[in-house]
Amino acid sequence: MSSGIIGVGITGIRAAQVGLLTTEHNITNASTPGFSRQRIIQSTTPPVATGAGFIGQGTIVTQIERLYSQSLVNQVNTAQTNVSELDAYYTEIKQIDNLLADENSGLSPALQDFFRGVQSVASNPSLLAARQSMISSAEALVSRFRSVENRLSELYDGVNTEIRSTVETVNSYAQQIAELNQRIVLAQAGNNQQPNDLLDQRDYLVAELNKLVEVKARVDSDGSYSVFYGNGQQLVVGATVSKLVVQASYSDITRMVVGVQAAGSVQELPENLMTGGALAGLLNFRSETLDKSSNDIGRLAATLTLTFNAQHALGQDLLGQALGEGSFAANFLTVSQPLVVANTLNASAATVSATFASPTAATGGGFYTNLSNSDYRLTYNGANYTLTRLSDNQSWSNATIAGLSAAVSPSEGFTLASAGVMAAGDSFTLMPTRFAARNIAVNSAVAADPRLIAAATPVRTTTGSTNSGSGMVTAGTVATGYALGALPVTITYNSGTNQLTGFPGGPVAYNPAGTTVTFNGISLQITGTPANNDTFVVARNAAGVADNRNALALGKLQTQATVAGGTANYQDAYARLVSDVGNKTREIQVTGAAQSALLKQSQDARESLSGVNLDEEAANLLRYQQAYQASAKMLDIGSKLFDVILSIRS
């Protein structure tokens, strides 16, 4: 019996020791991420049956369990992957938000200054200092465009780099999970107990993985995890890892995309397959905000260039030159043509080029372009060429490139041409405005010689000096495509026929309320009551250095609807971009805050179950210490009882 006493005491000591060890393990891992607190499960050892009944034989630790709930962990992971996605998005979009907010780096002040420069030329068309100030303000504007674009390009580079490093980390986590899978399977095969710390580590890796990309883990029958992303794509199965690959996109080599290694080649994964985590945040930021912002800024640059140039081309410079004459510079600004990238998988070597269409003349003066802020994809299926606008999947098809070009140019603002023969399945990506802001510049000829700014209009009108009627003539305007070859033209009024004659395409009937005479793209209006044989002369505006009509027209472009098919002026278009980015940033901010609150709740719930509380562990320490002391006392008592027996003999 006494050996029974000692035996029972020893089971108590052993159990208390395990309890102490587990408590110490908890204390030391109180701040280990992913650690779930452990506790011992004690039970009685099988009792001995006697005539008096069953005598207890002490205690035994049957299991060291971790306090863990798969559903709580899943909740944390889901919340975490959303928060990480929004965080990554927010970090990136915040940079655009800040860029646009800055009064000094934003585009708006430079745009205002530029038109101030145009106004100063309108006020003093012959003053070289005013012309120089217009060029300086234009230089400032284009450099602002370039610096904004440059900042956006840096964001592209940043996204590319981050995608690469994120995917590398994903692969590394996946590898570690696969290794842990093996160790867990082995450990569980040895005995029936759970290797708690290994399980915690693996769960922690899954949680970390969720910060990068949303994954789902499924427990297999052998205890290993199968990890999936997207809508069921395998990342880890048992000990096998299907690594993700980062490479330049086939359709646009400047863009890093995520793919998987398929037989012989890399297959690109659709971007919408990646949900959750930093990776989705980065991809969404790039496709939703960065592309659009770059295109918006580019569209503004391209539209400014095209519309300003169209008006500038209707002018006459300080040297008296008009379009097509001498060193006349039709273009005040220059910009790069739309970018077309051939898919690297194309079977043929055919190339496609796109060119901005001439802006449309608006009724009431000014010009506008129809450029959108979308990218396009051109595909060839062997019979038809199809152009798809990627923002809304609107598409146009035609059997020839020329036909397709004619179909899209009126509404999309660019024309297409191709060289070489395409193979079926070839595709091209068109980015009409992506790099326009990078490549906008002041025409170097004008920058070198401010006299080339076309502030005047190339024609002027005079009423004949011997006129006896009261007919008046307006100053005359020119429209795109005008020709000066027929000038000077003398328009004569004939009272007998009540007609105006003497100009190409004449005569026209005269109406005293105002008769418009148009020939060779030159228009003027005659009003009042002319007498028979009264004349009106349309002539070249020789020496017209004080004429500012074209400068005024250029200045007016500031408030005319020039962008997006004549629906917004330059500043409106920019304000729209600012508002779009601001709204998106705010949306991400608000959703992020909500998701963070959700994450905190689920983390609290998990911590509440699995987290270590040091006070609790301190109490446990005391408890197991006292249990140990009590059991040791039992040994002491057992020993003393034995001594009593021994002393009887002696």
Binding site: S123, S465, A543, G544, Q558, Q571, D572, A575, N613, A619
Partner: protein, 432 residues
């Protein structure tokens, strides 16, 4: 609910951070005075602010433009004022020349007029502050008026005519969104394009049918138009008219001839002449027509004396003064030459009146523009204030509210810090 130790720390830190974030933002707002730090703070207001900023900028550009237009119109007004003074003085001298004077005395007047003509020419060639000629239209760098030596003098002027080298171009200034105002008037409008005579037609001596100047002492007035429509029809049909005197049975008679067919009479029979009587211009041969105009001839014409009535054409100020000088310099040798002088001076005085009328019209036009500018500037300044207010409402910080928020946030942060320090200090291990 069970709390884990790490929860105490992470919650505490989270609370401190969110408090600090709010404080940081408030501090940024307070130091910049801006309610909107980045567009995300208020996307709609940010976009609106951009649009309003442009409107405000453009509006202040208009105010600037109005100022420069005002300055240019001011220069114009001063110059035109001097021109009017000169023309008035010339007119007085011309009236003086009609008096009983010797050739010598008229010579002095002619000399004085020549000096005035020079002065006028130099005024017409004035330039503005930046060296651009005021009256040359688009051709700011071209001297607009010069005596054109390549053209022979047109009698009665003895000097080669002044030619205009400018054009009718308007130098426009954008003074409002929908208003472009001319800041100049062209030289042709001020100095060249002046309707001679009474504005519809001009009367003049046309010389005796026997050769030489009119031999009688008849004076013709500048005429009057009663019905411009009839007159226009008449001019389009006949070109102009000539009144010629002849001796009829009961005394002096006159006949009217048209210019287009110089010897076709307009009157079925010559009409009797009474000095000072209005002569209606009309056609009594079939088909009869009233020309809607009349002239008054007074004094006694000689037989064969002729007067012409021609539709007004443009005559420059310079031509008028040159004509005056030419007329005044012609020696007076007899009564009929004195009459000729008076007739010529009268004709040019009528022209000078047209010049003064025209200058008055141009100055009124300039004055109206200045007045309009005043109105526009007042309006634009009001708008400027309006825009500034809107912009301030959109962007500016409500300091009272922000400071109160700041204080509240500060208190909150301090409380969070203190409690966190206390909670984290509690540990059972300290007591064991």
């Amino acid at each position: 609910m069970r709390i884990s130790t790490s929860q105490i720390y992470s919650s505490g830190v989270l609370g401190l951070q969110s408090n600090q974030q709010s404080l940081f933002k408030l501090q940024n707002q307070l130091s910049s005075g801006r309610r909107i730090l980045t567009p995300a703070d208020d996307p709609v207001a940010s976009a609106q602010a951009l649009v309003v900023t442009q409107s405000k900028d453009i509006n202040s550009q208009y105010i600037e433009n109005q100022g420069s237009a005002r300055a240019q119109l001011g220069t114009l007004e001063t110059t035109l004022g001097s021109v009017v003074d000169l023309v008035q003085a010339t007119r007085e001298r011309a009236v003086e020349a009609k008096g009983i004077l010797t050739d010598n005395q008229r010579g002095f007047i002619a000399t004085d007029m020549k000096v005035k003509l020079e002065a006028l020419l130099s005024l017409a060639n004035s330039s503005d502050g930046s060296g651009q000629f005021l009256f040359s239209g688009y051709q700011g760098g071209t001297r607009p008026f010069a005596i054109d030596g390549s053209v022979a003098p047109v009698p009665p002027a003895t000097q080669a005519p002044v030619t205009y080298f400018g054009d009718e171009g308007q130098r426009l200034v954008q003074v409002d969104a929908s208003r472009q105002m001319a800041s100049n008037v062209s030289g042709s409008e001020v100095f060249m394009g002046i309707r001679a005579g009474n504005g519809t037609f001009s009367t003049s001596v046309a010389g005796n049918s026997g050769g030489g100047i009119n031999q009688g002492t008849a004076l013709i007035d500048s005429g009057s138009v009663a019905n411009p429509a009839l007159w226009n029809t008449a001019v389009n049909a006949h070109g102009g008219f000539r009144i010629e005197f002849s001796m009829g049975g009961s005394g002096l008679e006159y006949q009217i001839y048209e210019t287009n067919a110089p010897n076709a009479p307009m009157l079925a029979a010559p009409a009797a002449y009474t000095p000072g009587q209005a002569i209606p211009l009309q056609k009594t041969t079939a088909p009869a027509a009233d020309f809607g105009a009349r002239v008054v001839i007074s004094g006694t014409p000689a037989v064969g004396d002729r007067f012409s009535v021609t539709p007004s054409s443009d005559q420059s100020i310079f031509k008028t003064i040159q004509n005056l000088i030419g007329a005044i310099e012609t020696p007076v040798t007899a009564t009929f030459t004195s009459t000729e002088l008076k007739n010529r001076i009268n004709a040019e005085l009528t022209n000078l009146d047209r010049v003064i009328d025209n200058l008055g019209r141009v100055m009124a036009d300039v004055g109206t523009r200045q007045k309009e500018l005043e109105t526009l500037t007042t309006g634009a300044k009001d708008m400027d204030l309006q825009y500034a207010t809107t912009l301030s409402d959109l962007q500016d910080l409500d300091y009272t509210k922000a400071i109160s928020d700041f204080t509240q946030q500060q208190t909150q942060l301090e409380a969070a810090q203190k409690t966190f320090a206390q909670v984290s200090r509690l540990s059972l291990f300290d007591i064991l």
